[in-house]
Amino acid sequence: MLIKRFSTLVTVMIVIALLAACAPAATQAPDTGGAQPPASGPEKLRVWIEWGDNPAQLQGLFDKYTEKTGIKVEVNAPVEIDKILAALSGSEPPDVIVLSGGDQIKSLAKENVVLQLNDIINSSGIDLNDIFPAPMIQCKQGDKIWCLPWGTDIYALFWNKDLFEDAGLDPNTPPKTMEELVEFADKLTKVDDKGNLIQVGFIPDFSWSHTDLYVRMFGGFWYNDDGTQVTLDSQPMIDALKWQQQFYTKYGVDNVLKFTSALGEYMSPDQGFYAGKIAMMVDGEWQVGPNFISKFKPELNYGVTPFPPPASHPERANTGVVQGTVAFIPAGVKDKEAAGKLFAWMMSPEIIAEEMYANSNLPTSRKASQDPRFKQIKNFDIFINLMASPNATGAITTPINQELSNELGLIEEKVLHAGEEPEPLLKEAQSKFAPMLEEALKGK
């Protein structure tokens, strides 16, 4: 028993050490295409996908590459990030990796495990002009391109028409400004005799944080545009947090927290918005596809619209922050040419259209977005137009992204769920992360 307990600690050490132990070549890894002499080409390529609700569908998609080229593609999905890290530090990484989001790509690039794609893009004829500029932001660092977006997400405002009607609002007119949204939210919020919330108009961090969208609406972000400076304590950041905070302070922080804790699972009919407990929510394009609202609450009478701008800045209408899946080639790949060819095939408009239609995600290719199948999904065009809007932007990422996002998450929690003032928290974080980013970029 004692030994067993000790062994858990030892295991943590082992995992860390093994990651490094894999680094020098030699060791295991039985069969990969890379082992073949380049002249004869690879027998098999490997693709690892971090998400993957439907591995069979993904394998089916890549089987088309086999039909076309005769090269087998083995798809592994979903794969946790720890396994991806271990593989990246090893001598036989998979040929292509698809991550759920671009937030870690620059930290990985700093670790020298990501292949710079500029050459492959030039030689394989991937048309960068076909890719929407907003989702590209997370992959670019100056001129360097570390990844390409492979289907992305953008968020909009969903509203429950029935609840609008009950509250005496026009069910077909969503709020046009952020101020109006606050007004509507008040009208849509109900309490019972004991003062418990039974319906809430809007909860800014439901189902997760959307500070990136709000801060863009206030005209800034937590990095400057080229990701070389931290701007955590900038006015838009303070405004974005304060704007969110009011939804908690007004109805009572404890009340709202109790209310949100009682909401059902994200993928269930009891999800707050589906269940008619939350009247307006910010959520992504997948909601309008077959696997969410129409699966769990087909009768829900709802509308979707781009999130409104502040009244003082109507020109910020159609602002959206694009995030989502990115694909990259590990630096340690043996047969870069073969990996590059597979990568280029993945980025072709037809394949993007097929994959994104299957998962109701936004196609990152302009040509793919014209695919008639997307028009069949009701309201999907709202999201495609949002991504194509000149106000659409990507989440700016840096090599210190994970740590900064983690801290920002904590600040949000303190401001929204504990009623703390945002300014001193942001200032403290600014003084911590500004030198950290400078240091990280110096090393690159």
């Binding site: 028993m1 004692l2 858990t8 050490a17 927290l257």
Partner: protein
């Protein structure tokens, strides 16, 4: 190793020529030991040694190690989150472990009573500890749901308005302790076996002398099971210092790792986050070594202190 010791001791320290058979036996013994020894060297000693070196280095996934001396350790001692994590973990060790021991001992006494259906009760109390960790954590997240959960519904029957177990930083750790208490079947079983080893003769003698139930408990039962208490205490403390899975699931459900407000950011959780999410493997290795020494220190301390309070009848 044992084999070699016995060979040496037979020779009273003087070198002797081994017979062919002894030599054969020696190598045969070594061969039998080899799978474990090689595994131990390769998968325990080497990684531990390597992580010690990494803890003095800046570690990159695909670049040579950069020796930075004590920098990781110095940074660690200036890291606020390190103390938050250490504090959270200490809370679990100081409050969670004694509470578990006390309640397990109490349950073991009850389960030791000769009542009809005794074995059924024993099974019921042991069952939760065979439920997989993640499953039981998910289950408890439902039970502790502040509005629709079983716990607050039950408290509501008595007119008590239950707290927000999941999202209130004051209640997050007590929630996790509740979860730990639910799964204390293993500790109960060990106590139960200890209770059955308490000599009946002592209890009968005390009874004849007119000792009450309470006096027998304090002066006979508790001293007699003290080695079991020590064992449970040490394994409990070690386990709690490495507390991870439940906290990881709990935090992620409440928002993100460490939620609410870093109240569930335990040492191992922060170690994982540092190594695998922030990609600071050297720093994480330094954390692992500090944890190792903290656990070692606590264990030694407990052994030392326990000498005065532990009674070994054998």
């Amino acid at each position: 190793m044992q084999k070699m010791d016995s060979v040496v001791s037979q020779s009273h320290g003087k070198p002797v020529r081994w017979s062919k058979k002894t030599r054969h036996n020696f190598w045969l013994g070594m061969a039998f030991l080899a799978p474990w020894s090689i595994g131990f060297l390769l998968f325990t000693m080497y990684p531990m040694g390597a992580s010690l070196i990494y803890s003095f280095s800046e570690y990159h996934l695909r670049a040579p190690l950069k020796w930075i001396g004590l920098t990781n350790y110095i940074n660690l001692f200036q890291d606020k989150l390190f103390y938050t994590a250490l504090g959270n973990t200490a809370y679990m060790v100081v409050i969670g472990v004694p509470l578990t021991l006390l309640l397990s001992f109490f349950c073991a006494i009850l389960l030791n009573l000769k009542v009809p259906g005794q074995s059924i009760y024993r099974v019921i109390y042991y069952l939760p500890s065979i439920v997989p960790t993640i499953a039981s954590t998910m289950l408890w997240l439902w039970i502790l749901n502040p509005s629709s959960g079983l716990m607050n519904t039950l408290l509501g029957l008595f007119g008590i308005q239950g707290p927000n177990w999941l999202k209130d930083p004051l209640w997050a750790k007590p929630s996790l302790i509740l979860l730990a208490l639910w799964g204390m079947g293993g500790t109960i079983i060990i106590y139960l076996s200890g209770l059955q080893d308490v000599p009946l003769s002592l209890i009968e003698a005390a009874q004849l002398d007119g000792a009450s139930w309470w006096q027998r408990l304090i002066h006979i039962t508790i001293p007699m099971v003290s080695p079991i208490t020590l064992f449970n205490l040490i394994t409990g403390v070690i386990g709690m210092f490495q507390y991870f899975a439940q906290a990881y699931v709990f935090g992620n459900t409440a928002g993100s790792i460490g939620s609410p407000l870093n109240s569930t950011l335990f040492y191992s959780v922060y170690l994982y986050q540092t190594g695998f999410l922030f990609l600071k493997m050297g720093y994480a290795s330094a954390m692992a070594w500090i944890l190792f020494f903290i656990i070692l220190g606590c264990t030694i301390l407990l052994f030392r202190v326990s000498n005065r309070y532990t009674y070994y009848s054998g």
